[in-house]
């Protein structure tokens, strides 16, 4: 080893918090560096969260109705479909692919569940709801065939799919002869968004979630410290855990406050644990399993992945099906929230779902992104729509402001990353 390499590796005031190679050297505490990493690092959610806080402060200062339990619950439910579709999109964005049809496909899956559970057909909900999800997975499977086997760009395939699915949707809905829309009759489907946990169950659910998450974070970090590996300082972890508990308490307050003026309406809507389950499942697969690792690898350098012996096409198919599954679940909640499906679908849904993912920090070019990005992005988009509705702004303003926020988020993100995309 030549001396100039050594000096290159160890600049003055060397960064030992992340020292992976210096055996026997305990990680030193360097909080300033850790916070800089939080701000700039690859997973840096901090700029986005700051943006969210600014939005909230702005809307609260303009409308006293914004930070009420009733409105925040409503906002969370509004965000549900954006979040879920954003998470669906992330599977493909990680590969450098995209699905431009998630909006209509989600309506299609909602439609299948809605029609089959209608008294006219009277299918049981535990067959009809999964069938809605399977429908959406079948659509994604078809896209996967064209993208993987026929080697067409996903952009074109899903654009064609968008038109085709919309056609099918209009055909089937109009065939019901119920005036261009089908409405949800099944209580289980309706309750996905309309139903609530009891106050006690809300408490229990949130406490258990926080306990499990905290336990996993502490255990993993302690194992790393014990093995003298790259780990975060305990103090930083403590701050994160305090933040987690505060968020949890905030959610309990929001959900457990009575939201109705006339009767008692309280507790967490069922939609929230569904969002969290999809978030947890997706995050688990992406960070803890080979499939997830390979999806990142393929998105980063598909040829390198292939040369490492990874069955690239199998994992691309997996990602398409994961997208289909998530879109299907989103579709059930979409139908539930709207109380039915009409033959005219909101065409901004797809773009806002891509927007959720990108605002949260997922790259459009593959290889970089996390499930949590879509959750935060979805909340930001819902906040904008919700806040502007409260301020009674025109639809024209809503579109332009959403566009500005999307651009700003991507710009800030790109500038922040240009300095260092790297954990140094």
């Amino acid at each position: 080893m030549s001396s100039d390499l050594t000096s290159e590796a160890l600049p003055s005031g060397s960064v030992t918090t992340t020292s992976g190679l210096a055996d026997g050297e305990a990680p030193k505490l360097d909080l300033a560096l850790q916070f800089r990493k939080l701000w700039k690092g690859d997973s840096g959610l901090v700029p986005i969260l700051v943006g969210l806080v600014i939005l909230i402060i702005y809307f609260e200062s303009r409308s006293s109705n914004f930070l009420t339990a009733q409105n925040l619950t409503n906002l969370m439910v509004q965000a549900t479909v954006y979040m879920l579709l954003g998470m669906a999109e992330i599977w493909l964005l990680l590969l450098g692919e995209i699905d431009l049809s998630v909006g209509v496909t989600c309506a299609l899956s909602g439609m299948v569940a809605t029609i089959l559970t209608d008294p006219q057909y009277h299918w049981s909900w535990f067959i009809a709801l999964p069938l809605g999800v399977v429908t959406s997975m079948a659509v994604s499977g078809l896209y996967a065939f064209f993208v993987i086997k026929v080697r067409l760009p996903s952009f074109i395939v899903t654009l064609a799919g968008f038109l085709a699915v919309q056609g099918v949707l209009i055909y089937v809905v109009d065939k019901q002869k119920t005036g261009g829309s089908v409405s949800v009759q099944e209580t289980v489907l309706y309750d996905l968004v309309g139903g609530n946990f009891t106050v006690l169950a809300t408490w229990l659910f949130i406490i258990i979630c926080i306990a499990v998450l905290a336990f996993m974070m502490i255990r993993s970090n302690e194992r790393r410290i014990r093995n003298n590996l790259v780990a975060q300082p305990r103090l930083l972890l403590l701050f994160k855990l305090i933040g987690l508990v505060l968020v949890g308490l905030g959610l309990v307050w929001v959900f457990n406050t009575n939201r109705s003026n006339f009767l008692v309406l309280e507790g967490m809507p069922f939609a929230i644990p569904i969002d969290l389950a999809i978030l947890a499942g997706g995050t688990f697969i992406l960070t803890k399993t080979r499939a997830g690792r390979y999806i990142y690898a393929i998105g980063g350098n598909a040829e390198a992945a292939r040369r490492s012996g990874i069955a690239v096409n199998r994992y691309r198919l997996f990602a398409f099906l994961a997208t289909g599954f998530t879109v299907g679940v989103a579709g059930l909640l979409y139908a539930s929230r709207l109380g039915g499906i009409t033959d005219g679908v909101d065409n901004t849904l797809t773009l806002l779902s891509v927007g959720s993912a990108v605002i949260g920090g997922t790259s459009l070019f593959g290889g970089r992104g996390k499930m949590i990005h879509a959750v935060i992005g979805g909340i930001i988009i819902a906040t904008i729509y919700n806040g502007m509705a409260l301020l009674q702004m025109a639809a024209s303003t809503e579109y332009i402001v959403t566009a500005a926020v999307l651009l700003a988020a991507v710009t800030i993100d790109s500038l922040a990353r240009r300095g260092s995309t790297i954990v140094k």
Partner: protein, 278 residues
Amino acid sequence: MDDTPETFESVIAGPRGSGVVPSDGPPLLSLRGITKSFGAVQALRHVDLDIPVGQVTALVGDNGAGKSTLIKTISGIWAPTSGTISWKGKEVHVHTPRDASDLGIATVYQDLALCDNLDIVQNMYLGRESTKGGILDEIEMEIATRKTLADLAVTTVKSVRQLVGSLSGGQRQSVAVARAVMRESELVILDEPTAALGVSQTAQVLELIKTLKSHGLGVIVISHNLSDVFEVADRLAVMYLGTLVNNGPIENYDTASAVELITTGSSSRVPGPGAMSN
């Protein structure tokens, strides 16, 4: 060894430049009559080459001579149009990179085949992650990565959790080589390992190559840099326009004759491979 050319002329002029090594045991890898065509273009013509254990074979040739095509054939990127590949004396079919790596052939490509968006540990284990009950065992992988890098005296990286995209050229090369070593490969193929590296980083990579050899691995090095070749190689194999034109122990060559072989495909000062079996 029956098709070893007998005469000097046939070696130099014939299309079947022969790199057959006469030795006791079977060579680690032996190629016979390897041909590879891309449509009308014949990128490789009847290449015969033996790669012995515990030696560094340098594969040299001008741009387009077929070095990379040959390497990619060995490492399963594509199958040869015709010809046979034998591994430790047994004929094998190498159709995918997985086949090659299952045999114990690891290739470090010119473009390195690393994922910039993954960290060092993730790259080192890409394609063969260790798991516990289906869940990635990050701790074990991180410990093993640190150990491998330490064994190879790769001490310039600050953290094994650094993204590969942030590494210097020499560090990337070291990671790529370390990755090949960690997979307990028996044959390591290095494609231009020192291209684009500074002097000290080149020295470090050459040192790595000697370490591989001392561990008893077979090594194939593609290089344009003859001074590097003469420093680490035990054998030289020269390609010219898709043909293996000359091959033998490094002592048979000097820089001038090597250059002559590379640029013209023949040299009056180098004996044919059949002539020297020591």
